[in-house]
Subunit: 680 residues, 2 copies
Amino acid sequence: MNKPTTQDAFDTPKVTTGPLPGSRRVYTSPAAAPDLKVPHREIELHPTANEPPLRVYDCSGPYSDPAASIDVEHGLARTRTDWVLERGGVEAYEGREPSPLDNGGATGKYLAREFPVRHRPLRRIPSPAGGGSGWGANGAAAASGPDGITPPQPSPQGEGAGKRHLVTQLEFARAGIVTKEMIYAAERENLGRAAAMAGAAERRADGEDFGAEIPEFVTPEFVRDEIARGRAIIPANINHGELEPMVIGRNFLVKINANIGNSAVASSVEEEVEKMVWAIRWGGDTVMDLSTGKNIHNTREWILRNSPVPIGTVPIYQALEKVNGIAEDLTWEVFRDTLIEQAEQGVDYFTIHAGVRLAYVPLTASRVTGIVSRGGSIMAKWCLAHHKESFLYTHFEDICDIMAAYDVSFSLGDGLRPGSIADANDAAQFAELETLGELTKIAWAKGCQVMIEGPGHVPMHKIKANMDKQLAVCGEAPFYTLGPLTTDIAPGYDHITSAIGAAMIGWFGTAMLCYVTPKEHLGLPDRDDVKTGVVTYKIAAHAADLAKGHPAAKLRDDAMSRARFEFRWQDQFNIGLDPETAKDFHDQTLPKEAHKVAHFCSMCGPKFCSMKISQDVRDFAAGKTGATAEEAKKGMEEKALGPKAERSEAVDPSEIEAGLKAKAEEFRAKGGEVYLETGE
Amino acid sequence: MNKPTTQDAFDTPKVTTGPLPGSRRVYTSPAAAPDLKVPHREIELHPTANEPPLRVYDCSGPYSDPAASIDVEHGLARTRTDWVLERGGVEAYEGREPSPLDNGGATGKYLAREFPVRHRPLRRIPSPAGGGSGWGANGAAAASGPDGITPPQPSPQGEGAGKRHLVTQLEFARAGIVTKEMIYAAERENLGRAAAMAGAAERRADGEDFGAEIPEFVTPEFVRDEIARGRAIIPANINHGELEPMVIGRNFLVKINANIGNSAVASSVEEEVEKMVWAIRWGGDTVMDLSTGKNIHNTREWILRNSPVPIGTVPIYQALEKVNGIAEDLTWEVFRDTLIEQAEQGVDYFTIHAGVRLAYVPLTASRVTGIVSRGGSIMAKWCLAHHKESFLYTHFEDICDIMAAYDVSFSLGDGLRPGSIADANDAAQFAELETLGELTKIAWAKGCQVMIEGPGHVPMHKIKANMDKQLAVCGEAPFYTLGPLTTDIAPGYDHITSAIGAAMIGWFGTAMLCYVTPKEHLGLPDRDDVKTGVVTYKIAAHAADLAKGHPAAKLRDDAMSRARFEFRWQDQFNIGLDPETAKDFHDQTLPKEAHKVAHFCSMCGPKFCSMKISQDVRDFAAGKTGATAEEAKKGMEEKALGPKAERSEAVDPSEIEAGLKAKAEEFRAKGGEVYLETGE
């Protein structure tokens, strides 16, 4: 089955570098930490625009910066390691002894080359009362602590022998400490804008946020508070020094994740590293390495050392490889060993399917598509085979202790998510979600950051119930959903069937959207599929930001619309999510350079261009060419309604405007009635 | 500017024929009219499925039927003409004298070849009191009739001299007459199923219909009643004998429209005819010919004579060509002449921008993107230039009389729709919508069928207000929207930015969705773009049908999900909206035929296939291979919860299920509170 990856595996991965068209990577230094260089992307606009460059969020890493020297063999600069060390509380140690099994027993030409540089892992310094491993201190005490539905409380600090060093972002946040990661993430959310700019009236967007609390301006203190309340996470393993920190939460910009990973069936180390670089180039905020088969360990090391974004994994996949793919043979020891292996490498978040309880498995028996989560099906098989609760559930506190020692965030997996419209919102799915809520409280008490995974396949009318229930049972921990797909009938187009659901659930409050590519249900995504998936999900996330009323979201839409009305074609391409495709599509019908300044396009031709006619109308009304909106309005009112003096009879636009507002209310009310009368 | 279309224009259009993979076109004859042959598509499933062929809606026309003989030079069979003639009330006449201007003055090699066959047009027989042209009888009387918000009433029948022959579907519906078009459309909506089948409990879908009244089974009488109430239309010009009638309304399946049309800049007659055939092959329910430039008349004739779906146009485009593209030179006479020209050809619906009133133009002055409707901008220019209300508004009753004489349906155009997120739901847009509501009443009183066009560019949180207001002010006339696009930042992906909005507004009650292709804002769609646009909009429409709870919608999703769980790969391809793309994607990673029966795919490989593991789990629990859901459930409960006898302690799945329902309510309530407290 395995495709030999010899040649690929030994090559140095070739990655895509350089800026996007018309863009450059810029850096700002937040007042709170002037030593930080926080990246953004600036899109240069045509001089006639009389607009400053458009600032947008940037996850592409140094790869898009011509000034940065990229050496994949060496990995990215580990700047963040200094932040971790200067905070103290961590120690470098030898780390776990690598085993051939870590790479699925691959040998000789089938063994992917090791990453050339080895870094000693960091972990939490064992506390006096903490016992050997350095994790687990105060576990019990903390676990018996607060009810997770209310925000987690600080765990006791400096109380005698039990004193525990702070390591996780949650622990610092609870202790009232603002970390550099928090400052960095806040600066990104503001696009490096000053508070004054952000607050400016014209920057405000309206919106319906369904109870979210999105601030005009994101302060580091706000990030700290959201993390302390468990409403946001900064996935940031202390061993991922290459990381450019970002925040995931309902009150921040909606983020997207791109899945990569080789499988037993296809692809190589080289391909995976480039897929990661390629995914973040187009806007992937985090990347999950879902590799299975051989060479998992080495593939992951290459990815982590070159990744500026948080990397997530599903450790049970590698654990299963270690027991030759026989679910029943999985043990807590093998799993524990895998957690430590990956935590030492610097994985930022783990998907843990601890909510698949023995008693829930029968609830899936009469489903149309059974269990569609790989981790979920593996654990269900284990549970039944052993007539026991899974070791993920029984050892959950031990898992927390390990993850807390490296600040690996939880992504509590929805192993029983629906795999079809028919199975959406069923008993199995919601039973697991309630368990995830209970586990969230325990993880919080242990100092772990937590997000919750969600479906899957859900028709539009059942999407909001997922969000509402997750908020209610998981204490507002960030929700992280896969789509959901809103219909099952379009294989080959599931990036679209799911973008519909993703945009909606993002609007309702989901913090991060896991992308779906056109190959979903059919095959492994290639480079083009990854790009299509990422761009599609940037659309869904942005549509959600707009609808939620995120203050910065509308800036980009407005810049695009102005470019459209002014026929700044090059600006339209560059402001868009995919400048290359936009330009290519334009040039297919109007290739000439001249057409990129033409006041029309191939859709209508010159005579039928509505925007050109609109400007003609403005010019005509104002009696001059290049009339401004104000000049046009005055002229139009004259022409449309006659001189102000004689307007007693004529309709006054402002009256219309006012009258309409009233009418709109009246009609909404009427609409409501109609609904109440006939709705069922 | 014009690309000579010589060669193309004189070729016989080559069109795509033959069935989709695994499909055949079948026909049923409704009890109410056994002479009708109503088309459906049946997808053959693999023998192991033990399922009858899956019946789906079919708009592809005879082109997908190998038994049909296709001769584009002759056009499709004009079966429907007999239905019209046997009803009486119409007369054949010489018709308008064609003029060179009809083809933009194209001559010689630039003039596209005429369609070889000429048919004498039909029109309503002038009533004794009706005056020469045969239209306008009772106009005034009827116009002073009912308030359009309440369903339109029958116009007076058999009252002395004023007796008016019935021609439009609305007139027949009001008179209580069920036409063959209504029977035909009802049969299609039911997928030819018998009432019993349709009513079967397991066929029912839940859903949230926002006050729509979707029946379990669609009777011809229901179609008649919906049309009589103005809540649905059957666009069916009496001169479009090639038509396979379909119904557009909130209580029927959501339909989609595909735009085609050459422009001054590109494409030819041949391309346009094939684009129409290609668009309906993938599921276009209606097609709009938005041609501009030369050869408009001849291009349209070729399209109509070969089209089994309703064809819509925007007559002002051709009228503008007749005055050399100078909006100010447009006159009622030129427009009237164009209406009759196109009505005689058999166009089924006209977009008429009669809502662009003089006083509303100034409301667009301060917009970011002004007026983005071609028709809207043309009329705005005319209004200002002449300091007058447009002739579309002042002559609206005359327009009604012409359209009623041929049963051309109104698609009241939203000339002031927003062209950007910034301009959504503004005063100009809603002022026009209210006027469209007033015009709807007049058109209804004149016996005309009416639908209303909607936006455009609207962020998610402002979409529902559009639907609610349209229902309220337009008396529930069918809404027909373009998208809406939910963000402006993704040129090259606007089929996706708009599919999000289209699915939502379709769910809320929009009856037909006008597709957007990837080339929107960039160029003219080619063949691939048309297919992508159509498939994307089938997804949006189907997602809406599912969410509304249309009884037949879920059948296809469930069939797909069963095929997935049983690894019937070929069935998965064929049940999907685009079998070719699905198969191609699958084969890119797993080309071997063997892999099409493999119990895994390239995404996970054999060891990690969740569905395979799910079946293993079922088999394990039941102690046999190929265990059914029931056997598995029993086994799982034994294994998970121990023998029934000893289950006092253990969790009982049924209890969980019950408990969850209660909890779910509780949480929804809680969620509500939270929203009220913090929402703004």
